[in-house]
Amino acid sequence: MPEIVLENLVKEYSGGIRASDELSLTIHDGEYLCLLGPTGAGKTTALRMICGLTAPDSGRVLFDGQDLAGIPISERRATMLSQSYALFPNMDVYHNVVFSPVIKRWSEEDTKQLARSMIDMVHMGKKVKNYPRELSGGQQQRTALARAMASDSKVLLLDEPLRALDARLRIELRKELKSMVKEMGLTSVHVTHDQDEAMEVADRIAIIRHGRIIQVGTPKEIFQNPATPFVANFLGRSNIFAGKFVGNDAGHSVIELRDGIRVKARPADLEPGQEAVVAVKVGSTVPELVGGVKDVQDSHLPDTLPDGYFTGNVERVLYEGSTITIETNVKGLGIVSAQRSSRRFEYYKPGSRVIVTWQPAKASVFPMPESGLAQEMRLD
């Protein structure tokens, strides 16, 4: 199963839209990589260039070091599973699944064997004679997957494979999807806009935006060490604050937000006075009740936290099931969100005064982006 290298791919459409803007990425042999980004980021274009449906304007696609330019689509052995599944309506499930072996003229015995094992793996054994229009969304998706895996391809490209399904079904199927694909050992690239999905299925995630890769890493790496404010808020919600870098101190940095509000964050390599952005995940932001009993912290927080940075009034508490989100209105900063275990639901009442704090090691600092904070933080 090949290592895939995308080298400085450029693809421009009429109107000057750059779907790929010097896009470079390495996908390891046998890896399950998620290409995560907002709609319009260029994810589908990248997939299409890997399998050959779209030719790049410049740049190369390499499988195990071999340049694929000039190799026709049918010989790349990189199969695409599209959002609409594209099951052939003129064939039943069985014939859809065996399409590839039949086209490649395998022996009938080998074909039957492969088909049977794939169909069983996706639990579609009872529906082999049905036609695509008779299947539910989840069944169609599984059939498309079986067809892709029965194609003896080395690379599997999944273009938002779960998008067309209900939320609850998505959660169920993504677990199955990952285990089935891993069993086959293919190198897989899974495109999605859904960060929960990416976190669950990916060995590594590549964040893509405006046609370029912004960061690559394991879900944990990206979540805990985002490379830009956008990534900080895209993979996991973050509170974003703009301010001026003051300086580094014992093991942390200090940033002044406004009116004398100073917060602590990770040590950073910035100039004093430089415009900076602080990002803290909502799960690491802790609002403590002013004058309340010292609360038992959630298990992922240490027992002692630094003294709070600023105060505000609880505006709203949103119940989310296993978690709650506390929205605090802080004068001059707007709404600051914090996520905690829902066991604390009764603890916060709208109107209560809280003081907000966090561990410096959990807060990231970035230089102010050139395009401005509003443009940086756009989600679409």
Binding site: L53, P72, S74, A78, T79, S82, F88, I103, R147, A148
Partner: protein, 546 residues
């Protein structure tokens, strides 16, 4: 390597694919486009002939009159078609009721009737032509009115189908959204749906107009039965009556005028409707509500349906009353002409499919690119040009004026190819556009070569549309009179045979000829019915699979 595998391998090569497409385009341009407009060049090469006619005021008056008749009739017919066709299109697309399938079928019936036959039937129904023994309504109508009534019949289905096609594509939620905001249905349609309608309107108007301009056989027969074939002319009947493909100045002048005017109008219609902006700022909520509910919409639908039955269906079927007085038929002559008609139509349609599919695929898959847009427009040209003028031009191009025998048949086939090709291409283009491109793309990533992706995936899916398009083209060719006559008077397709029977009947004042013509017509209709029926069955079976 087997032949099939070799072709498959070739299809992988982008250069080969481009070359094949280039070849098809070249054939299209050289065989269809250029001959169709060739006659325009004659204005320059045979200027003395042309100027002679242009200077002759008497001739010009006749020619001008013919052109005026053609265009004004087409205009009136098209406008009325829009008004009465829209409610029917609406019912077909938006409403569901028992008998909808029947309405759908009835709508296509007029297309199955060769227009020559319709000419006979319509005059019988409305008027009382001398020598026709079956009684009709017995109204004494002027030729102008009679022709209009005739032209309604075969243009109406084109309009309704075009309007339905666009209506189907317009998201019905827009109207619903407008109504949730407080607009009555009438206001919602007027302010939101109709402006989105333009594309369908342009198509419908273009097809209707062109069809009316082209029609020869029915108009000619109707005029003959009324005895006015030498005094009242439309463009096509002028050409048909005055010498077919004899290269005279009159022929050149009238053909060129008709071609240029038709092309000009094609552009004008697109431009006008494209920029036409119905001022929709004024709203009358109460009036809108009154007109949207209760009696008003029912009356509108009722009138539209009445029009359809009274003006379209009854006159068309009237010819079957001749069955009450069966006349003897010269079977060998009839069979001979059926044979020729089938030969011409068959070869034309096969050519259309083989060379139409590549072009249609290109246009559909490269929607929006400049070359595809240009090709799309070019494909429309043979559709717009009146077929009689087209036939004349083609005969001139190949140098086969007044030809006979095999040469004549070949030229007639080429002529029929010209006006059926656009029908087939449009049909296939429409079908391919409906198919998710991901189908073929996925097939390729699964290892299928481009040709395999086409034969195993795309073609089976669009097959019903291809067959339907082929049958429609076949029927169209069966019914065509003008082009055949313009190319050569010696090729006796069935419509030409019928026209000749009527001509003889009138000249000899012998009504038995009319009866013969009627019987032949009925035979021809029966054949076309069977074919249209087959189309419906194939299409519905195809739909069940999709």
């Amino acid at each position: 390597m087997s032949l099939v595998a070799a072709f498959n391998r070739l299809s992988d090569n982008a250069g080969v694919r481009k070359a094949w497409l280039g070849l098809v385009c070249a054939i299209f341009v050289c065989i269809i486009i250029v001959p169709s407009v060739f006659v325009v060049t004659k204005v320059f090469t045979d200027w003395d002939l042309v100027s002679g006619v242009l200077g002759d005021s008497a001739k010009m008056r006749v020619i001008g009159g013919a052109v005026w008749n053609s265009f004004s009739i087409a205009f009136i017919v098209t406008i009325v078609d829009v008004l009465v066709g829209l409610p029917i299109a609406w019912i077909l697309v938006r409403k569901s009721f028992r008998g909808k399938r029947a309405l759908d079928t009835l709508l296509d019936m007029p297309l199955a009737f060769p227009t020559a036959v319709l000419g006979l039937s319509v005059v019988m129904f409305w008027g009382a032509p001398e020598g026709v023994t079956i009684p009709g309504l017995g109204l004494h109508l002027s030729p102008y009115v009679m022709i209009i009534l005739l032209h309604f019949i075969f243009t109406y289905p084109y309009m309704v189908r075009s309007l339905s096609a666009i209506l189907e594509q317009i998201e019905p939620n827009y109207e619903t959204a407008a109504m949730t905001l407080g607009a009555s249905r009438l206001t919602a349609v007027r302010t939101i749906t109709l402006p989105l309608f333009r594309a369908g309107l342009v198509t419908g108007i273009t097809l209707c107009f062109a069809r009316s301009l082209s029609e020869t056989g029915g108009t000619y027969i109707a005029l003959t039965l009324m005895g006015s074939q030498s005094s009242f002319f439309t463009g096509p009947t002028y050409i048909a009556e005055n010498g077919g493909s004899v290269l005279s100045g009159e022929m050149i002048v009238i053909s060129v005028i008709m071609i240029l005017l038709a092309l000009f109008l094609l552009v004008a219609v697109k431009g006008i409707i494209g920029h036409f902006h119905i001022n929709a700022t004024k709203v009358w909520p109460q009036v809108g509500r009154k007109l949207s509910r209760g009696a008003a919409p029912k009356a509108k639908d009722g009138l539209a349906l009445a029009f359809m039955v009274l003006i379209i269906l009854l006159p068309s079927f009237y010819i079957f009353t001749y069955l009450s007085e069966p006349a003897s038929v010269d079977t060998s002559a009839l069979l001979g002409s059926i044979g020729i008609s089938f030969l011409v139509a068959g070869v034309a349609v096969v050519f259309d499919i083989v060379f139409g599919i590549p072009l249609a695929l290109y246009i559909a898959r490269h929607h929006g690119s400049k070359p595809a847009a240009v090709l799309d427009e070019l494909v429309n040209i043979p559709l717009i040009i009146p077929t009689t003028a087209l036939g004349l031009s083609l005969a001139l191009f190949w140098g086969g004026a007044n030809s006979t025998g095999a040469v004549a048949v070949v030229l007639v086939i080429l002529g029929h190819i010209s006006f059926t090709y656009p029908l087939v291409v449009r049909n296939i283009t429409g079908a391919v556009e409906e198919v998710d491109p991901a189908m073929e793309e996925t097939a390729q990533t699964l290892g299928a070569k481009p040709l395999q992706a086409f034969t195993k995936i795309l073609f089976p899916i669009i097959k019903p549309s291809v067959i339907a398009g082929a049958i429609l083209a076949f029927t169209r060719s069966l019914g065509e009179t003008g082009a055949t006559v313009a190319i050569s008077g010696a090729v006796n397709t069935v419509p030409v045979y019928i026209v000749n029977l009527v001509k003889s009947g009138q000249k000899l004042a012998d009504p038995s000829y009319y009866a013969q013509a009627a019987m032949c017509s009925i035979v021809l209709i029966a054949i076309c019915f069977v074919l249209m029926f087959a189309v419906r069955i194939i299409m519905h079976r195809g739909e069940d699979h999709a």
